[in-house]
Amino acid sequence: MSERLKLDRRRFFQLTGGGIAIFVGLGPSACFSQESRGGYPEDLNAYLLIGKDGRVTVFSGKIEMGQGVLTSQAQMVAEELGVSLDAIDMVLGDTDRCPYDRGTFGSLTTRQFGPALRAAAAEARLVLLGLAAAKLGVARDRLTVDNGVVTAPGSSRRVTYAELADGKRIARLVGEKAVLRAASDFRVMGKSPRRIDGADKVTGRAQYAADIRPAGMLYARILRPPAHGATLKSLDAAAAEKRPGVTVVRRDDLVAVLHADPEAAAAALDLLKPDWTTPPPGPDDETIFEHLVKAGGAPEEKASRGDLAAGRARAAHVTRTAYRKGYVAHAPIEPHAAVAEPKDGRITVWASTQTPFPTRDRIAQAVGLAAKDVRVIVPYVGGGFGGKSADLQAIEAARLAKISGKPVQVAWTRAEEFFFDRFDPAAVVEIESGTDAGGRIVFYDATVHAAGERGATPPYDIPNLRLRSTGRMSYGDGGSSVHPFAVGPWRAPGANMNAFAIESHIDAMAAAAGIDPLEFRLRNTTEPRLRAVLEAAAAAFGWKPGVGPSGQGRAVACSTDAGSYDALMAQVRVDRSDGTVHVERIVAAQDMGTVVNPDGAKMQMEGSITMALGYTFSEELRFRGGDILDRNFKTYRLPRFSRVPAIETVIVRNDALAPQGGGEPAICPTGAVIANAVFDATGARALRLPLTPERVKEALAAAAPLRAAG
């Protein structure tokens, strides 16, 4: 143990009341230094504490927004430690109690954080077994543990974790040597227990940020500009100020009304008479594509191999197409909300956010407090999908609490949620590629405009390839100046558009070469994981070979994202009279390495595919420059029950590989598989998402009549 760790131990155990603590990443001092922030090479911080009652508490900065990590993290710890799942308590996303964490995004919780957490639990088990060996007088390697009880085979001697932890003050940094359990030995992992949060969520006990109600709380409503880029010229607040109980706050750019009743606050907001300067008109949802290509500047090369010209010379068929997609909203059913309570010189903020620690630091800066005087607590989050990271609402709540000296709730309306969303960006992807006479891809040349490169390199064996990009997209900080408003990470950022373009294009190449689309993909990849999911999907679907368009209305698409591989197959029916597409069935096969919770993984696959039906069929933001025209669900249409097809999920076992991402991968190829199925049904290829009935009709009109189904 380092000197540093010894020094920190005393303070730590004063806070926790003793026990056995195992730290991941950072020791107690760094964990509880309120100034700690990013800059560490790895973002794997957490600790677990075994108390004298034998209960195990996991403190982690990750948050639960529906993806099931509360349960899967508990499973990992229970497995490695040798306790039952109900012996575990999870404390997530509380900046006073949990160590620093950058945020919950990118399907990293299981993939990167998981192994570290498991190692800590494995280390804890070694410590406990060491104590047990001393107590029982039996060599450590002869002991076994089950349900928190240590026994020596062939003897009646036993001791519980609770007895071992009682009166101890042991702190350890997780070592290198902890050996994780093999998948074949799993007792808790690899199983599908009921969600730990299930009972809270079906009874209404689960609290979200807007459900937290400190005594004396005021509801805030904030004056919003009519469009991005508008600025306030003048404000007449006289009428609102006359209303009983209303406080009008005006501080720099922040104009708000506060009232003890939420409806009274909304009514007071309506009484404000602002005068705005209007921003100059910008591109709209139709002209945006031309704008993006022009504004993105010269393409930057992102990947290249082989010799494009040589590949081109060998091509028997060349296919060249541009694919487009509009802006898509996150639209979690819970809008952003935060409650800030000032007390004793500190501020506590309950916020719906994926990034409690960065949010804490931003709040501290905004209200002029030290980070240690701000506490962010993340209760249950009602959906994030990448959209709850900017946290303007938490900063607004904290500022208003500081100004008024009272607890303040800022809960965005749906219109505010749409206005301030950091949308999935509109994009254009241009691809030119060719196959040789044997149906092998000989060159591939693509340029991605304004969406970034995630998933932009096709998962095929292509000898000559160039990938270029324009717009300098950066998902972390508002996107790119080529977009008329902020854009940001949306479930598999950029990868949905890239998979749509790549897999539409591959399908078109297969058709041009006269090869069955599944056979074409298999012929062009030697990647065993990709081949395995394609074959598993085909078996589950009952794939019947045929060159597209076969008239069957079935198709395949595949992709790799977050370390996982996915292959989807879809069956659709197209109504030629009105251009509507009916998806009858989707089969998805996924290799995600070792599976922590099979049912949880299937849940994420089903959720991804269902969410993708939105960007595939109906979701596209309408706007005029900075004026967001869709501000509620009446015009911006999410998938509803009547649109959701049968979804069958197949998990392709791969226990040799550590767990990979599960929350995002299946969403990527969904748009393509449906567009490809429309092509297979009709011979019409829609090149722009979403596939609205009008666009499908246009594509039908442009397509050659379908030859007899073969």
Partner: protein, 166 residues
């Protein structure tokens, strides 16, 4: 106290000031501290605010408090006695018919209203009854399966292959 409304809330008589056009959703969440009914859109498009009024699924964000005189309101908190689960709640847990859980109270109460007027609904009837409720997490298929199980028209997930996958 000119405009006071009296009704029964989760089995108990209550009164609330009903001035102007106060809406049931906000009265529940503020006056009564019942935060199970959620705000999702405020215009009747998402169903997150659904409660039962005289057994019917009713949108809290579209219902003026003044219309509730003498009526019976049940929220998710009052659906089952404390510590117990209603069969629909039980089926939602068993099927994993929820992810973030924000739509869940509205989903469950909409399903309860359906089952009270049609004890054995067809799959089509379930889809139709649920179509006004949005779920962004994509739990739809499992929600339908959970409702089928609660109505006795389908087996519980454990009895089926594929653990809860409809």
């Amino acid at each position: 106290m000119a405009n006071t409304v009296r009704f029964r809330l989760n089995g108990k008589p209550v009164t609330a000031p009903a001035d102007g056009d106060r809406l049931l959703l906000w009265a529940l969440r503020t006056d009564f501290g019942l935060t199970g009914a959620k705000y999702g859109c405020g215009i009747g498009e998402c169903g997150a605010c659904t409660v039962l009024v005289d057994g019917q699924a009713t949108l809290g964000c579209q219902t003026p408090l003044s219309q509730l005189e003498g009526r019976e309101v049940v929220t998710i908190e009052g659906l089952a006695p404390a510590g117990r689960l209603h069969p629909v709640q039980e089926a939602f847990v068993a099927h994993g018919a929820l992810q973030c859980g924000y739509c869940t109270p509205g989903m469950i109460l909409t399903a309860c209203a359906l089952l009270s007027r049609d004890a054995k609904p067809s799959r089509e009837a379930i889809v139709k009854a649920m179509d006004g409720n949005l779920c962004r997490c994509g739990a739809h298929r499992r929600i339908v399966a959970a409702i089928e199980e609660a109505s006795g028209t389908a087996a519980p997930p454990a009895a089926r292959k594929g653990a809860g996958t409809p």
